[in-house]
Structures are given as structure tokens and as C-alpha cells.
């Protein structure tokens, strides 16, 4: 096969703090993001509270996913065997380039000039659209939000509602320009109708579709896709050829396990008891749906994550995005600040791992560690635990380099470690600090500016001045004389 130029989307260009700074100034985006996340979160809380067995569903979902990951090779080969038996074709791709080559090869064989697509973050991850365009094939997004993103030459900022950062006026402008509809109104109904008309002709005409996948079912070799609009069903049903690009972690042991995930996913994702459409199919079925069905199983950095027992749970994710909607950091910045296909708390742990900790290194710090993401996660991924684990990795890797060893952060932290190791040293530092801070404390009792390397801290926050008496001094005076014998050394 001839060489395939693989294009990558422009992610990972900036670190989180720099990207966030830009986005924090965009008040329209912040308003749109906050409105959307508040609405979903409110709905989600209501429908989750309806289920008395919610915690049991979370537990069962987590266990099924963890079990599958522990035996991923077993379940993937089982899926493959059953899918092939049912008339499907299974391909394996180690990385983005390989996946793109496989898909492009299939499209060329069918002489496809256009493809219709269901929203898939996996295709965003491998830069599929850019690759197709560079090779003369036009990808057409059919999810309303993805269509808004594609026509607006934008990037998704949320993986359930990718265009939540756009309001109706902004969507209207994009549609007016790109669909040549000068008279278009700005009611959501007008916009949805425009999209319906624009896409229906394409569904009926275009013969090849590309999708992602929510679940691969090992015991039947089937697939499940969960959606709202019916665009998914159009792509899964009407074309002659369907190509699904799916991460290897999406396999579950059995069709029956969907009884857990079809309860937890819609309630977590969109705050609905059930999303309007779920489709399951197995291979090809004569007279029903595509005549040719391909699944591309994508590794792309996933298998090494399995080796890290503390971080493996990252792969349990079913992409509901509940952690985004509840995250105070995401709430303020929106998804683009993460400079990553996968935004929010899950993106903060998934992205750096997918890139072997070489990209997205600032993301484990893009969190307040408040734990809300863990509480809402329908498969119980302990995101704060993994964030801390990854921060540890970043620090250890930095300390292993010369530049890292002599960086101000490392020197500062080493100095702090030195001080905290010995009570005498700490006490001395406290007294020195009391003297040293005098010139810096403002009238309100806060330090608003610090010199040299410490200035980074006060750039974004004020520091409370040290009290005249430290806790340790107070303790020594008030309590220690009476408890000396029992507490000796205890406080030291």
C-alpha cells in the first residue's frame, strides 16, 4: 500500500496553566460551559437519586470492568472469534498511524470519496478526519454537536456534548455560513431542523460509515452503541460498509452485562433514565444493516497502562463525562484548556498515560483533588488517587534529569523536606520566617507579594501572614509541661 500521510490534530500545544489563562478570559465560553454543566449535573443528581441500588450498580460495573481488564487478552480474542464467526472482520492497530492506514485501506478498496461518521472520540484521538482529508476523502460528522464543531473548524470540549461551549447564536452563525441558509432562525428547533435536512440526503446516499463503540460484547462478538439523535442508527444501518474504531478497553464479557451499563451510562452522561437509542448487532445480518462490518481494535498507548496496577483503573472509563460536569476546575476553564482529546478529570489521568507521560504532564495538576469526580464515577475510578500517583511519577521523572534536579521547584521542595525532617530545624525556620515576613505583610494581614522564586506563589493568591506565636510554641507553653512524660517525643 502506498504511504499514508497521518495528520495529527493540534492538541498538547500548551500546558494546562497557560491554556487555562487564555480561556479564563473568554467569558462567553465560561458562561456556556457553566450553564451546560449545571443543567446536566442537576438532571443527573435527580435520576441517580431515583435508584436505590445505585451504589450496587457502581460496584458491579467497577468489578466487571476491572475483571475484564485483568484478562483483556482473553476477552479480546473471544470477541474476535465470535465477531468473525458472525461475519465481521477484526483488525488490530498498535497506534494511530496503523489504525489510519487500516481504515484508509478499507475506504480505498470501496473507492469511497465521502464517509458519514458517528461521534467518536477515538477517531479524534487518532486524527482520522485530518488523515482522510489529506487523502482526498471527505468525512461528514452526523452528531449535531460534532457537525457544529466540524463546520465551525473548532475542537470538541466535552466528550458527551462536544459543542457545549457554543450557544445558539454562535451555532446559527456557523450554520448560516456553512449551509448557505441566510434566513435561518436561532431557535434550537430551527437549528436541529437545518441539521436534519442537511444530513438526511447524505445518510441516504453515502455508502460507508465510521463509528466508535461504547461496548464490545465478548460472548456474542457483538457491539453496542448508545446515542440520542438517531444519527448513530442512520450510520449503523443504512450504508453498505461500517467501520468501527474502538479502544481495546471497551470490551465487556457478556451481552448481559449491559444491564448494568445501560443503567449507569445514560443517567451519568445526560441525566436521562435511558438515552433515546441503543443499538446492538452481531457481525452482519442478511437484509438488516451493512453488508460488510469491520472493527479496528485500537491500542495506541492503552496496553502499557495495564501494567501500572494503581493507574489501570483509568481504563475502566465508559466515557460518561460525569466527572467533567462536576469538576470545579473544568467548570471554570471548559474543555479546551486541557489541550487534550479527553478533557476534565478523566482526561487529566488518561491523556498523560496514553502518551507515556511525555505529553500532558501538567494535567495531573489540573485538579483541586476535591474528590467529586470519584463520587460521581459510575465505574468507581478513584481519579484523585490516580492523579496523585501520576504527580509522583512526574516528580520522580523530573528529578531524574539534570535540569529537573536543579529546577527551583525541586530545590524548594528539597529544602522543605530538609526542614520538615527535624523539629529543631523547623522551629528555627519558623522564627526566621517571622522576622523575614515583617516587611512583606500588608495592613490586612496578608502577604500579597513575595520576592524571587517565591513570587510564583503570590501571583495568583495572597498568603496569610504567619502568626506571632506558632502552634508548636503554643503547645510547648500550654500543654507540654503537664504531659511531658507521656508526650515526650510525640510532638517533636
Amino acid at each position: 500500500m502506498s504511504e499514508v500521510p497521518v495528520q495529527h490534530t493540534q492538541w498538547n500545544a500548551l500546558d494546562f496553566p497557560d491554556a487555562a489563562k487564555v480561556l479564563l478570559e473568554d467569558s462567553q465560553t465560561r458562561k456556556n460551559v457553566q450553564h451546560a454543566t449545571n443543567v446536566i449535573q442537576g438532571k443527573r443528581n435527580k435520576v441517580v437519586a431515583e435508584l436505590p441500588d445505585w451504589e450496587d450498580l457502581r460496584e458491579a460495573g467497577a468489578r466487571v470492568k476491572a475483571h475484564t481488564l485483568r484478562h483483556l487478552d482473553y476477552y479480546l480474542t473471544k470477541f474476535e472469534e465470535n465477531c468473525v464467526r458472525a461475519g465481521g472482520h477484526v483488525h488490530w492497530a498498535s497506534d494511530a498511524a496503523e489504525a489510519n492506514r487500516i481504515i484508509l485501506g478499507l475506504l480505498r478498496r470501496h473507492e469511497a470519496r465521502e464517509v458519514i461518521k458517528i461521534k467518536t472520540m477515538t477517531s479524534e484521538e487518532i486524527g482520522l478526519n485530518a488523515t482522510l482529508e489529506a487523502n482526498g476523502i471527505r468525512p461528514i460528522e452526523t452528531d449535531l454537536a460534532e457537525l457544529i464543531i466540524q463546520l465551525g473548524k473548532d475542537r470538541p470540549s466535552h466528550f458527551v456534548v462536544p459543542a457545549l461551549h457554543k450557544n445558539r447564536q454562535q451555532v446559527r452563525e456557523i450554520f448560516q455560513r456553512e449551509m448557505h441558509l441566510p434566513e435561518l432562525g436561532d431557535k434550537p428547533e430551527d437549528l436541529a431542523t437545518a441539521a436534519r435536512t442537511y444530513l438526511r440526503e447524505k445518510y441516504l446516499r453515502i455508502k460507508v460509515a465510521i463509528s466508535g463503540g461504547n461496548f464490545l460484547l465478548a460472548d456474542t462478538g457483538g457491539m453496542c452503541i448508545v446515542e440520542s439523535e438517531g444519527n448513530g442508527r442512520m450510520c449503523l444501518t443504512l450504508p453498505d460498509v461500517l467501520i468501527s474504531i474502538v479502544g481495546i478497553e471497551k470490551v465487556i464479557p457478556s451481552f448481559r452485562d449491559l444491564d448494568i451499563f445501560l443503567q449507569t451510562l445514560p443517567r451519568s452522561a445526560t441525566g436521562e433514565r435511558m438515552n433515546p437509542y441503543n443499538s446492538t448487532w452481531t457481525g452482519v445480518h442478511p437484509g438488516d444493516g451493512p453488508k460488510e462490518f469491520h472493527v479496528v481494535l485500537l491500542d495506541n498507548g492503552r496496553s502499557p497502562i495495564l501494567a501500572d496496577k494503581e493507574a489501570r483503573q483509568t481504563l475502566q472509563c465508559i466515557r460518561c463525562a460525569a466527572c467533567l460536569n462536576v469538576c470545579p476546575v473544568y467548570h471554570q476553564t471548559g474543555g479546551h484548556a486541557y489541550e487534550s482529546v479527553y478533557a476534565g478529570p478523566i482526561g487529566a489521568i488518561l491523556t498523560p498515560q496514553l502518551h507515556s507521560m511525555e505529553e500532558g504532564r501538567s494535567l495531573p495538576y489540573a485538579s483541586s483533588l476535591c474528590g467529586a469526580c470519584y463520587e460521581v464515577c459510575p465505574v468507581k475510578i478513584n481519579i484523585p488517587e490516580v492523579l496523585i500517583h501520576l504527580r509522583g511519577k512526574v516528580v520522580r521523572e523530573d528529578q531524574a534529569t539534570l535540569a529537573g534536579k536543579f529546577s527551583l521547584w525541586n530545590i524548594g521542595m528539597q529544602a522543605a523536606a530538609f526542614l520538615f525532617k527535624d523539629a529543631g530545624r523547623l522551629s528555627m525556620a519558623e522564627h526566621m520566617g517571622l522576622v523575614g515576613q515583617k516587611a512583606l505583610v500588608s495592613k490586612n494581614g496578608f502577604i500579597e507579594w513575595m520576592p524571587g522564586m517565591l513570587s510564583g506563589w503570590t501571583q495568583t493568591r495572597d498568603l496569610k501572614a504567619m502568626p506571632a506565636q506558632s502552634f508548636r510554641d503554643w503547645w510547648a507553653k500550654e500543654k507540654a509541661p503537664h504531659a511531658k512524660s507521656a508526650d515526650d517525643g510525640g510532638v517533636r
Binding site: A36, V64, D73, L76, E229, L238, R256, R273, P276, G287
Partner: protein
């Protein structure tokens, strides 16, 4: 070795390297079978409460809901169609004669392509199972339900559900689907909808914009 075999063994080797020693398949199956499923498996509602719940959920989605006895199906379908201003419907093979209301045209749409279906006034079908708690209809490729495309392209869907097809919980529905799990299956919960624009729920983007459900009691 062909490219595809090489790619396959590379991915599998990488997974196996990360996981370490593999267990025997019997042991894996046993471990899977032992996973505790303490979530609610079966419902507790009486038949009447169950149907009321199902109806409430459907209404919340914006579907139309009707009830009739078995003897009244044809006449009720006729009145629903009059109300919708339809002169007839398309349908999959296997829809009983008695459902075809007098004075309306019913065409067998088996083998219709998408263009032909796009021109129909709507589709009449039965279902395999329905879930009260989530207001869902489950259709499979069997007589009376047919290919997935039938309930997809037409703008209107009228689905007949028998009371004994309605279960309370999602797990109960999966229990009933167990033996036919490889058939093309569609879960439908209300008409097509999106909330992509400012979180406002809009009915009908690409799938049928109008859904009526006739519950036979």
C-alpha cells in the same frame, strides 16, 4: 506473516506483557461468574402500577400513549391514525391482519430501501420487550418488527406493546433478551432527541420525530 497477523500479535503481546501470567480460561470464567450482582434484578410493582409507570415515562419523553383491549387493537389504531392525520402506514412482515384498521392503507415494507421508507407516512410495529422504569421499547429483527431501518427512517412510529411484554427493570429485559442476543436489537426511549444546543431538549433530529405507543391490556 501478513501485516494484519503481525499487528494482531503485536497488540496481544503488548497486553500480555503488561498483565503477566495468564490464568486458564476456566479460572477466568469462574472469576467472572463470582462477581457479585447485588443490584436490583427484579421489579416489585403490580401489573397496574407497572403499566402506569411505563405510561408516565413515555409521556415524559413526549410520546403518545394509548390503551386498548386485544379486541380493540384495530379500531384504536384507526383512531390514532385519524388523530395524526395519516392515511396509512408501512409495516414489517408479520404484523397481524387484525391490526390493520379499516379505511387505511397498510403496505409491507420488507425490502424497502431508505428512499422508499423516507416517503412513507410512518411505520407500525410490535416489540420484543418494554421496560417500565426507563420507558423503553426493545425491537429485534423478528416477525412484526423487522429490519432496524424500518423504525428509523420514517418520521412516525406506532408501536403495539402487550401488557405481558412490559417488565419493570432493565435487568429483567436483558433476561428476556438472553436467547436472542445476537439479533439486531434496538432500544427506543421516546422519539429521537438532542440537547446539544444550550441543553434544550429538542424532539426529533434524525430518527422518527413522533412516537405513539399502544398498550394492549
Amino acid at each position: 506473516m501478513a501485516d494484519s497477523d503481525l499487528q494482531r500479535s503485536t497488540v496481544l503481546a503488548s497486553i500480555r506483557m503488561s498483565l503477566g501470567q495468564a490464568q486458564a480460561s476456566d479460572a477466568i470464567d469462574a472469576e467472572y461468574a463470582a462477581i457479585s450482582r447485588s443490584y436490583k434484578l427484579t421489579g416489585e410493582l403490580s401489573v397496574y402500577a407497572l403499566l402506569d409507570l411505563f405510561e408516565d415515562r413515555l409521556l415524559e419523553y413526549g410520546a403518545g400513549v394509548y390503551r386498548a383491549s386485544a379486541a380493540e387493537i384495530g379500531a384504536t389504531i384507526g383512531s390514532i391514525l385519524r388523530r395524526r392525520g395519516k392515511s396509512g402506514l408501512a409495516m414489517p412482515a408479520g404484523v397481524p391482519m387484525e391490526w390493520m384498521a379499516e379505511g387505511f392503507t397498510f403496505v409491507d415494507a420488507t425490502g424497502f430501501d431508505a428512499y422508499e421508507l423516507d416517503k412513507t407516512e410512518g411505520i407500525l410495529s410490535s416489540c420484543t420487550v418494554a421496560i417500565a422504569e426507563t420507558g423503553s421499547l426493545v425491537l429485534q429483527n423478528v416477525a412484526g418488527q423487522g429490519a432496524r431501518v424500518l423504525s428509523l427512517v420514517p418520521d412516525y412510529h406506532l408501536c403495539v406493546v402487550f401488557a405481558d411484554q412490559v417488565v419493570e427493570t432493565v435487568p429483567e429485559a436483558f433476561e428476556r433478551l438472553e436467547n436472542t442476543s445476537t439479533l439486531p436489537t434496538t432500544f427506543i426511549s421516546g422519539p429521537s432527541a438532542t440537547a446539544d444546543i444550550e441543553m434544550t431538549r429538542i424532539k426529533g433530529v434524525h430518527g422518527p420525530r413522533f412516537l405513539d405507543v399502544l398498550i394492549v391490556v
